[in-house]
């Protein structure tokens, strides 16, 4: 990077390319001496140069930049003025006194700029001066901007001066209300509620929105009181605000009469043009409940475009669930159009109730075909034994979605022995998803019958069939199928060998039967199989496996070695330290770094000393890893 003096000189050039380059470098190197030049270039007529200067000034920042850019606020040239505003918004906070001084400038435009900039400072120090401007400046636009900026800063200390400003012009009031809403402090509520009574409908509606946003319970009584006397639009807004403030639960605490009255308002608000008013009405109706509410919300949900507004749809469905099993649901299933039926199904899918599964099964046959998977899904989610016959019948069909529902219900949920044969038959299904589900279902169901079936299957010439058989038999009890597992360990297909190994995991501590079979895999020709072995050993709770992990440290594959290292680390094998120190000097970076990490994990004097020696090496990445390992050891020492 060039030195600062040189840059200043280049900033005097008249070649725009040179200027842009120099400005860039001045910014990157933080060359403060260049600030004057850069400020001058900010007024350049060449936009490319202007922009480069702008970026550089922001990068440099500090008092000098504030001082140099300040006069440009008075420029007659709009782009220059805007650029200097933008820069001051970014760096102005670095010279507060200057900003305050500008807030008292004789020129109202400058005072507006200053208020604006103070709003971006994110500093509490800006509150008092802005409050003063808000209450005392005689130019309305300055007061307006001060309110906006106080909102942007959003410090609660501003509430009281903002409250006083509610006496001001309506124009200023708008900004004040917004600011109070942004501050969201209890102290703002009082100010807003007080203003509610003497406000025009327009201002009142802003206040209502703001109160809803702040969400303070103090406002509710006032809002309810205002409801009857308000025109419809405002009333709906009040409904929204009250729902927002109280949330669902508290609504049910209203007295019966109040609740009745409020339900009418909620139903009316459901027809409002604004979506968030509708959504609030939905929440409210969900908690006050009743048939009229259920019918209305269901019809409303059916009108929502669920692809475009999934969250609104879900919201309505959740409200329906809150109301429980209503007549509206049954009616929709029986005689509704597609949209209403879909809503009913979605609601039922998570509505556990005694009568619900019967409702679904009765309606199933009359549903259009494309809706049946959703119905089966809902049923599977909520039903128990009573739906067994229903789903067994589905197993005979050929619709993939229905099959998946039936298989997971009968196998995963009910573990129904009577379904065993039919589910097993699906292992030959062309769809991979169905086969996979059927395999898991078979494992879940278990039993002698399936056991025999899988043993038969293992004799197949089809690798896929052998693989499924080994997987299932392993899961259904290794010890009962050792002959199969043993023979699978020398299958020609590596994945089958892997599955067999994984089946043996629980027997790894068994010195005669399990361990020898597993560690034989360390010399498998396939790297993935060897990885599986090492991983298995790492998770094995036995004191006999250390020599095998050590053997794996000499594997030809880096990742096999890495997994072995990790396993040693997890087990805290101190005996491994000398070997680990050797490995830390490996040419393979991955292995070396892992060895260092593991040394830090295992600890002990030998590891510590070794690490110190390694720390004197000259590979920066390795040294960094060593330092991290040492720091870790130190921390652990400290904790003890």
């Amino acid at each position: 990077m060039a030195d600062c003096k040189d840059l200043c000189q280049r900033l005097g050039s008249d070649d725009t390319d040179v200027l842009r380059d120099a400005a860039y470098e001045a910014g990157e190197s933080g060359c403060v001496e260049a600030v004057g030049h850069l400020a001058r270039l900010l007024c350049s007529r060449n936009l490319g140069v202007q922009e480069a200067a702008d970026r550089a000034l922001r990068k440099i920042g500090g008092k000098e930049v504030v001082a140099a850019v300040k006069p440009l606020l008075r420029s007659d040239d709009a782009p220059t003025r805007n650029a200097s505003m933008d820069i001051l918004r970014a760096v102005g906070v670095q010279d507060f006194p200057t900003l305050i001084e500008l807030l008292h400038d004789a020129d109202p435009d400058i005072r507006i700029f200053a208020s604006d900039i103070l709003g971006s400072t994110d500093s509490r120090l800006a509150v008092a001066p802005l409050c003063e401007a808000l209450l005392k400046d005689h130019e309305v636009n300055v007061r307006y901007q001060a309110a906006v900026s106080l909102g942007e800063l959003a410090f609660a200390d501003a509430s009281s001066c903002l409250g006083k400003a509610m006496e001001d012009d309506e124009w200023v009031q708008f900004a004040v209300i917004e600011a109070l809403a942004k501050i969201r402090d209890a102290s703002s509520v009082g100010a807003l509620v007080k203003a509610l009574d003497r406000s025009s409908d327009l201002v009142a509606s802003m206040i209502v929105d703001a109160l809803g946003e702040i969400g303070n319970i103090k406002a509710v009584t006032m809002l309810l009181k205002r409801m009857d006397a308000s025109p419809e639009v405002l009333r709906n807004k009040i409904v929204k605000a009250v729902v927002r403030i109280l949330g669902g639960k508290a609504l049910s605490l209203l007295s019966a009469a109040e609740r009745e009255r409020f339900r009418e308002y909620l139903l009316a608000a459901l027809a409002d043009d604004e979506e968030d008013v509708q959504d609030a009405a939905v929440s409210g109706l969900g908690s006050v409940g009743g048939e009229a509410a259920a019918t209305a919300v269901l019809a409303h949900a059916a009108r929502i475009d669920r692809d475009r507004h999934p969250e609104r749809y879900e919201h309505a469905v959740a409200a329906m669930r809150e109301m429980g099993l209503t007549e509206a649901l049954g009616r929709a299933l029986r005689e509704g159009g597609d949209a209403r039926r879909m809503v009913a199904l979605d609601v039922l899918a998570a509505l556990p109730c005694a009568a619900c599964s019967g409702l679904l099964m009765d309606a199933f046959a009359d549903l259009p075909e494309e809706m049946r998977p959703a119905a089966a899904h809902a049923l599977a989610a909520i039903a128990g034994e009573e739906a067994a016959a229903f789903f067994l019948e589905l197993l005979g069909g050929d619709d993939e979605a229905l099959l998946l529902e039936a298989v997971s219900f009968l196998g995963g949920k009910l573990r129904l022995p009577a379904a065993g044969e039919a589910v097993f038959a699906l292992l030959g299904h062309p769809s991979a998803a169905v086969t996979e589900a059927a395999l898991d279902a078979c494992v879940a169901i278990g039993g002698e019958g399936l056991d025999a079936r899988f043993r038969e299957m293992f004799a197949s010439d089809e690798p896929m069939e052998r693989l499924m058989a080994v997987y299932a038999l392993g899961k259904m009890g290794v010890r009962d199928h050792m002959d199969v597992i043993r023979s699978a360990l020398s299958d020609e297909v590596p994945d089958i060998r892997k599955i067999a190994l994984e089946a043996l995991a629980e027997m790894c501590g068994h010195e005669e039967e399990g361990l020898p079979l597993i560690v034989a895999g360390l010399s498998d020709e396939n790297r993935d199989v060897r990885l599986a072995v090492v991983e298995l050993l790492g998770g094995c709770d036995s004191d006999k496996i250390y020599p095998y992990l050590e053997q794996a440290l000499s594997d030809t594959d880096d990742w096999v070695r890495i997994r072995a290292l990790e396993a040693l680390g997890n087990r805290g094998e101190r005996d491994a330290v000398p070997r680990l120190l050797e490995l830390a000097g490996e040419p393979s970076k991955l292995v070396a770094l892992k060895a260092v990490e593991v040394l830090g994990e295992i600890g002990g004097p030998a590891a510590f000393e070794g690490l110190l020696r390694l720390g004197a090496g000259d590979d920066p990445e390795l040294v960094a890893a060593v330092e991290a390992a040492i720091a870790r050891l130190r921390d652990e020492q400290g904790e003890r």
Partner: protein, 292 residues
């Protein structure tokens, strides 16, 4: 078998990327390419890379990060990673209204000026050219406009991309009809030869384009690109964060000859990125001009 297997039984639990790992990977990607992977793409990254991690037998995304730095296969892996995080989606005659403005206004203007200055020389830069559809489209348009006069011009279209894989395809110059879905039939007939079910770009079009690898986050590399009359960088800066956008757009500004013009994607804008260019509004396109 392996793929069949992994489809059938999912042995491993799903790989999840933690916030810290995502940040680590994002910073790595950013340092390597300037591509800023926004937070909302976290799950996309997780989803797309999880399969890759399983193939590599890696256990976590931080291991993947180590792999990208130190494994013997890291270079190839980096290319794969870029393929995952970027979209190479492109086609011939993408965004026809913009290309019409390019042909009728921008290009005509530059050609007239060059003729007037008795300098029949034209340099166009296609930055982020993907599999070559964009620079070849530009070359075709030049043929269409200049016809026989073309041989009297000194023309070069410099086409760059980050991904070696897409560049290799671009150099090959063979395309499916999908790439040509918005290309007029007579253009296909004139500038491609059928190659089985595919279409091969003709040598006289290919000749105008020079492909090369470039990383738009590398300021020095960008400085070495020959200065251009026109820069195309469409649907590329969407991947970058604001800081990187500013740097790249500033580099285009520096690269452009006085009076040069920049074309960006129709969903992109220079708002808050650069004030150096003067936007000119045409029906269907905004063209950004550097002053004379």
């Amino acid at each position: 078998m392996t793929s069949l297997f992994s489809k059938t039984i999912s042995l491993r639990k799903d790989l999840k990327i933690s916030d810290a790992e995502f940040a680590q990977l994002r910073d790595f990607i950013y340092a390597q390419s300037g591509i800023f992977v926004a937070d909302n793409r976290k799950y996309l990254v997780e989803n797309r890379l999880a399969t890759r991690l399983k193939e590599l037998n890696l256990k976590s995304f931080s291991e993947y990060h180590a792999y990208l730095q130190y494994d013997a296969g890291r270079r190839q892996e980096l290319n794969r990673l870029f393929e995952v995080i970027t979209t190479n989606e492109t086609s011939f005659y993408r965004n026809p209204p913009q290309l019409k403005v390019f042909q009728d206004m921008v290009l005509k203007d530059v050609l007239d000026k060059q003729r007037a200055a008795r300098q029949k020389r034209l340099r166009i830069w296609s930055a982020g050219c993907s599999t070559g559809e964009e620079p070849y489209t530009i070359a075709i348009i030049l043929h269409e406009v200049l016809r026989t006069e073309l041989s009297t011009w000194d023309i070069r279209i410099t086409a760059n991309d980050l991904s070696e894989a897409v560049l290799a395809q671009a150099r090959e110059g063979v395309y499916t009809d999908y790439s040509l879905r918005t290309t007029p039939k007579e253009i296909v007939a004139r500038y491609f030869t059928p190659d089985g079910a595919n279409f091969r770009i003709k040598p006289e079009v290919k000749r105008l384009v020079a492909f090369g690898q470039i990383n738009l986050s590398d300021r020095m590399m960008l400085k070495r690109v020959e200065r251009s009359h026109i820069v195309f960088c469409r649907n590329v800066i969407i991947y970058f964060d604001d800081e990187m956008k500013k740097n790249v757009i500033a580099a285009f500004y520096d690269n452009l000859l006085p009076g040069g013009q920049l074309l960006i994607g129709h969903s992109e804008s220079l708002h808050n990125i650069s004030r150096a260019f003067r936007p000119k509004h045409y029906p269907g396109a905004i063209i950004y001009g550097k002053e004379e």
